[in-house]
Symmetry: D2
Subunit: 327 residues, 4 copies
């Protein structure tokens, strides 16, 4: 393999706080090693269109604390076609780009692997998604920030719930993964947490709410992940409880997209800085098809293929803690 002289970086899929900090880190690490760096706009879509920008160490001043992504993000259908990827490859060649860092989630990594197979193009992945549903890292970029955003919002909801002795169903993000729901639920002191990984049964929830009221709690919060396994959405759950526990005055709040934004937490900024350095250093070291991540507070790397296949498992101990906390 030839020496790498220019690296491109993109953000792909759902945006997450810390993506800008990761872009900054990739760009500054390139500058540190005196190689060039290009930004690709709008993920694979921009790659196919050749929508590039040259980035220097100064281009990324004052973005470490900004939510969103200055390179913007998108999902690309065209990149799933051979023609799309061919165009992408030609743009990379034309721009003399030797390797690529992709900041995104599972879907983005799958694209990267296919692309590497076809064109033998070096690529490293940085896990960026608020859902924390990626194998090979204890934390994805944006997850810690999203937890704080969710918990701060639920704290506010608790204020009004307590004032009116109400029960709130709060939906947080996480279509396939209950990480946000479980951790934000424990963090916010939720009386009940419903997650996609486990169907604890609606009866259990009713029992828990009854117990909570008997125990003298004046308000209750039930945190529900988008993809809860009960098969009911948050509004249906609220109705179900109102029907079965008429003593409760029930309200629903869907936190929604605000969980994706906001200035990243210190943890996410530091993680982004560390992963960005590692991703460039791996490429310079001749490595490819790896995802960088965190394990036991150490930066590690995993084969992207493995990362995609690998399942994430919810922390059963935390479910138990949640149960004890609602005593």
């Amino acid at each position: 393999m030839e020496k790498i002289k220019k690296i491109a970086v993109m953000t792909s899929g759902g945006d997450a706080p810390g993506m800008n900090a990761a872009i900054r880190s990739v760009v500054r690490t390139c500058a540190y090693y005196s190689i060039a760096c290009a930004g690709i706009y709008r993920g694979y879509e921009g790659l196919i269109e050749g929508d590039f920008i040259e980035l220097t160490a100064r281009s990324v001043n004052n973005i470490i604390n900004k939510g969103g992504t200055i390179l913007k993000s998108a999902r690309s259908k065209e990149f799933r076609t051979k023609e799309g990827r061919q165009k992408a490859y030609e743009h990379l060649r034309k721009n003399k780009i030797d390797a690529m860092v992709v900041i995104g989630g599972d879907g983005s990594f799958t694209g990267a692997v296919v692309f590497n197979e076809e064109f033998n193009f070096p690529v490293i992945g940085i896990p960026g998604t608020i859902d924390n549903d990626i194998f090979g890292t204890s934390h994805t970029l944006g997850y810690d920030t999203a937890l704080n955003t969710a918990v701060e919002a639920i704290d506010k909801i608790r204020d009004t719930a307590s004032s009116h002795n109400r029960l709130f169903f709060v939906e947080v993000m996480g279509r396939d993964a209950g990480f946000i729901a479980l951790n934000a639920g424990v963090g916010a002191g939720a009386e009940e947490i419903l997650i996609p990984e486990e169907d604890l049964g609606l009866d259990r929830m009713l029992e828990s709410l009854k117990k909570s009221r008997r125990a003298g709690k004046s308000s209750s919060i039930v945190v529900v992940a988008e993809g809860d396994k009960s098969g009911k959405n948050v509004y249906e759950l609220a109705e179900y409880v109102e029907e079965n526990l008429p003593e409760y005055e029930v309200r629903v709040s869907v936190l929604g997209h605000m969980q994706r934004g906001g200035s990243p937490s210190c943890f996410d900024r530091v993680l982004a800085s560390r992963l960005g350095v590692k991703s460039v250093e791996l490429l310079l070291d001749g490595q490819t098809n790896l995802m960088v991540g965190l394990k036991n507070n150490e930066v590690i790397s995993t084969s992207i293929a493995e990362a995609i296949k690998g399942g994430h498992t919810i922390n059963m101990e935390l479910l138990r803690v949640s149960d004890i906390m609602t005593t």
Copy 2:
């Protein structure tokens, strides 16, 4: 009238940040003037049930910065009946309470006026509602805090909207009044603001969004008050735009009850402290049936009857500013 020796305070209707600061102020002012103070739980409902608590200067330590209301709040149907009010009056007599401070909105004040008429019981109102829809004060308690909460949430939504070139419809509170929508909309730099006071027409919104895109804006935020006059709710508005402007990828976010909670802003804490002092001093001065409020940064008082009748009007200059800002 006899000398007042004991004052009761309650919070009534929808809760608002700053209610605790106002309770603290009423209690401490009573202590300052060496008179007793009782708290009434759950507004008129608790009044009817005689659900009282003695409050001393120390009872209200460390609540100035807490959202919600330690006295809890409620809406009471029974207080609308003569029997309910009779019970309430008897509890007040039994507890030797000579006057009452009611922290709440229009509905709560109407109850207070009726009660005063029937029993000649001294009562002063403190305007506490995030909606700012009360005549006789430039600011209601909680309004400033709710604006900051809304703007911070929309800032986060803007992060993700910009990253994906999306259009977001964000619903804020305000069933009859567009104060939150208009101010939070201008504060968040919204491209369009829809309020109950004015039906600007859906065509105007489409035009504005087209203009915004032509002008090179990559994302757009439309802030919608709950009670928007267009007759469509926020989801229907989103659908309408998706049908008419297919180039837009549209998302909806309903901020909901988190706008009612949270630690009050400095403004709301100071306002609460000032209004609490004034309410007690008016009662000690033999006054009744007044609402305290702010005008030109001075604490003033208005007849409650007038406050209820008086209409609030939206700031047309601000609508114009909003229009200019979206140039």
Copy 3:
């Protein structure tokens, strides 16, 4: 006077949250009226050096929520000389700038008046300073944000003060004006507030602290303005109390420059938007030498000369409220 075709905007003196929102408003209002707009970097210093930038409606995207000032700010000695101002004027001519909006405080406005006198150059001032010490407006840009920043910091300090039964002296900004100290002090529930406008005497403070402890308060916060009239700085005050009230464990915290930064509050963003529109419209209307401001929630204008001369007075009612609150 000829028709105005191009307006310049600068930020001068100490920076304040909301300055960017004001720049955005000036720029967008120019665009709305189809006139050109230039930004001047680093206040009068950049003006003398001709450090200008053309600003379009899109140049100011996504800055409404940013602290600091994208045009940067400075204090200029050279502008106090005739030669300096002559250079400044020539740069304005060369760049075909017909009028100027200066966002800053008293010092910046004095420069503007002198400049206008000498060159008959139209100029409008927007009051931007966290100190709120400008006559002719109830609120200066940045003041509301600084209050929230101070109160949030003092809330955190209260947490640790309460945990250890400690007394904290907290210094806030305000060399000549006690607005921040008085309002943040009331907002944070401070036991004592020391401001430049009034020397309440150190004995009074000792008495107040003794009373507070007797009343059973376990922690105390004394908020001190930088320019407190006691003649002692915050460290000397702390020592003085430790010597005279040895039962207190005393700590000092100087909030410092963080009070100047941060994302502006909704109030400051809306105020900035309104004042920016008004400043441009006044210039287009042929007016000059005015400062825009807020009075009774209406946008007004005052002669800059008057604004500079006029004294600001502290709200004595609020001092009294503070006293009652520490009962």
Copy 4:
């Protein structure tokens, strides 16, 4: 050993966000296992004085999100004497307390070990300190929150630093440990970080600042830990730079005690909940002299004696990342 029927919990030493969440967890876990729980006020001082309170599951409602500690904290000289500890033991016996959970840092744990040796009294430690300087856990309670507090404050300082092209020295907490300085420094994008663990030399700092200016950075932040090894305090460092790099306008900001307060982050709340459960379960399992902690996201336990002896080491990789980021 007899069956444990009652557990006491205390907070000791410097307070930290998350201590209340840990108290809540200990209390609720006791309730879950149907054993009694007592709170000890003011750490070992309150223990010696027998200052106890019975705590039920409901006593700890709504404290998970509160900074500080409802049990208050203190450092005790008397507990270092045999007589003091004897008194403490007698109070425990009299109150029928069978075991104790101590939330605190190294100093508090040393006391616990001595006490256990003398009286064979079961004790478990929960690491609570913002400094993160305890062996046997990757994170101490309060550390994550303190990092976010520091980074948010430095973000604000950056706003004003950028506006004026200034250099700020920002002192953060950490007398013996540079964890906060290093992580908050990387998180805030500091140009230079000075920590107790390493004397990088003042020349290096000057070089770095010169490089930073040459690279076109307009503002700079140097984060300094309280106990920096250079031997100079933050004011002396600022003076030193002003003398050697006169082109810099230098300011100092000492973040101080606000770093100890504030609502805990989601991470700290979840960690506290997990550690509280484990501490009670270990006691019920007949264990003693252990400190609970986190390793690789799993709750583990370490011998307290080891935890005290064990050194903590700074992450050298992160120092390197910091260096690369300032390219």
